[in-house]
Symmetry: C2
Subunit: 329 residues, 2 copies
């Protein structure tokens, strides 16, 4: 039997039930993997709460990111063979293909190899974070040497990925974080400047760091009221990528600043990259090479055992982490 996390209702982490189910056989275009590690995502917490873009269809699976070993292939799968070390690129409906489990079936198109030098825990900490940051910063934002890039909520796994990608591209990552607790970690992770928003004025600090130019690219997971400050911190013709909704407040479009500066505010999720085959391929290649060279390196915060999957989500909601939360299967 396979052990799979299932939801029959939305709610707090107690709705995550570990159930025994017959091992599933992969169909055409699908692959079954024996899961070694699961990487947690904020999207899964929102999904569990019924607040994510995808609404659960009960009984629902859950989970976007896992690493493991290929153990069975459906028909029409040529890129993988049994025994391959792979991890998942979030590009499927969680209700159907969610990867919180020890043996799970996913579409072959959502799998990728990862470099041998990485542990399975690191393998489960790749695609969501690096492809998300890659899409906004490289594919759409085209960052390059000398660009100032402001990264809010920077101690998330995507935040760390964004810092590393900035450094690889020669851009200057400015990290913002609410409290001072994570400041040193962010500096250690490569942020050139860290703004502690509880203690410092975000706009003043950005203007001082950038010699009044502002940031050409802002990569924001928060939304809500902070967007007014981000618009002030943006450079002429800058772009603010909104890729999350950590704030639950309504988000303004700062019209007068946007007209004056020619600002762009762009809603962005990883799915815009995973649904574009050419962009997805470029991203996979970029990330694979970066991992291989060591310029990109997943930052892992804490590892939970599989039977503490509920606690692992509680921990994510506590916002104490810096980097990826992993569940070992």
């Amino acid at each position: 039997m396979a052990r799979i996390v299932k939801l029959t209702e939305v709610g707090d982490s107690s709705v995550l039930k570990l159930v025994d189910e017959p091992v599933e056989e992969p169909k055409e275009g699908e692959v079954r993997i024996r899961v070694q590690a699961i990487g947690l995502n904020r999207a899964e917490v929102l999904f569990r709460q019924g607040r994510y873009l995808e609404k659960p269809i009960f009984p629902a699976r859950i989970g976007y990111e896992a690493s493991g070993v290929v153990e069975a292939l459906g028909s029409a799968v040529s890129e993988f063979k049994v025994g391959d070390k792979v991890s998942t690129i979030p590009s499927f409906k969680m209700s159907k293909y969610g990867v919180y489990g020890d043996q799970v079936v996913v579409p072959a198109s959502s799998l990728a190899h990862y470099p041998d030098s990485l542990t399975p825990e690191e393998g489960a900490s790749i695609w969501m974070q690096y492809l998300t940051a890659y899409g906004a910063l490289v594919e759409y934002g085209n960052i390059g040497p000398g660009d100032y890039v402001l990264i809010t909520a920077a101690s998330s796994s995507v935040g760390f990925a964004a810092i590393q990608i900035c450094l690889e591209k020669g851009a200057i990552p400015i990290a913002s974080t609410r409290g001072s607790a994570k400041k040193q970690t962010l500096l250690d992770a490569g942020a050139k400047h860290v703004i502690v928003t509880n203690d410092e004025d975000l706009v003043d600090r950005v203007m001082s760091i950038t010699d009044k130019k502002g940031c050409r690219i802002i990569f924001d997971a928060i939304a809500g009221d902070i967007v007014n400050q981000l618009a002030q911190a943006a450079a002429y013709q800058g772009t603010i990528f909104e890729y999350g909704a950590l704030s639950l407040a309504a988000t303004p479009f700062p019209l007068m600043l946007a007209l004056d500066k020619g600002l762009t505010i762009r809603g962005y999720t990883l799915f815009q990259i995973t649904s574009d085959p050419a962009a997805k391929d470029r991203g996979k290649k970029y990330v694979y090479e970066g991992l291989k060279s060591g310029k990109l390196k997943p930052v892992i915060d804490k590892v939970f055992p599989f039977d503490q999957i509920a606690q692992s989500q509680d921990y994510m909601e506590s916002n104490q982490q810096t980097g990826k939360i992993i569940v070992k299967v």
Copy 2:
């Protein structure tokens, strides 16, 4: 003596005072023109009211667009000679260079020739409207055959320009207007579809016209609450250009729709084009060729005499016009 419109305070149209002043001599890089026609802009009404991006410095001139004949050259001006038919590209401070007058001095960089086939009234109806629409639709929006383009407040001079540029590029212009009074005029001007928002649901009509795809480009002068509807009417990865602020309400950023669709909302004014020499040159060439071929043709609504400059702004504020309001000097 020259007759110049001056403001010494903000307010209703009665603050526009016609005064006699010594004829000004052009300095280095400047040109004096004998004005034949003035084209009115919404920006000037806002400037007069103190609500525009540029605030008046009293005593202030006013006015962005005029056509006329070159009558004196400052030093270091090589592109123009006395007697040339020219019109102004809004790319200067109105307080200093405002063109409401019969003899005005402007920077040579803000002048352009216009085709001989156009009247002076048409010559004063070119650059603001066509370059504004060109910048968003062509330079940034890259519209092409088959693209659905929604144009709000479409009966303005910029709206007509946008319709004509869509047709020239093979895109499908969908015009929206509040009341039914201007519907036929918009169809006659080339709009493929007209949505009367007082009588019809904007989103339903766009989805029906576009076979549920939505519009790839939305060119909006209104902002405020309508942006929620525009986000619904936008295609996957569509772009909404906000180029005005006709609504005085706060403008939302529709975060969940933006995340789901990967929407871009971009603040935009003509100054982003006029401050980019390469883009400005491309735009000038595009517009000149379009005017020469007849594919672009200014739509003039009404012509006022110079001593009715205040009435001409009142008329603009009444929103009865379809096309450009001209003051003959």
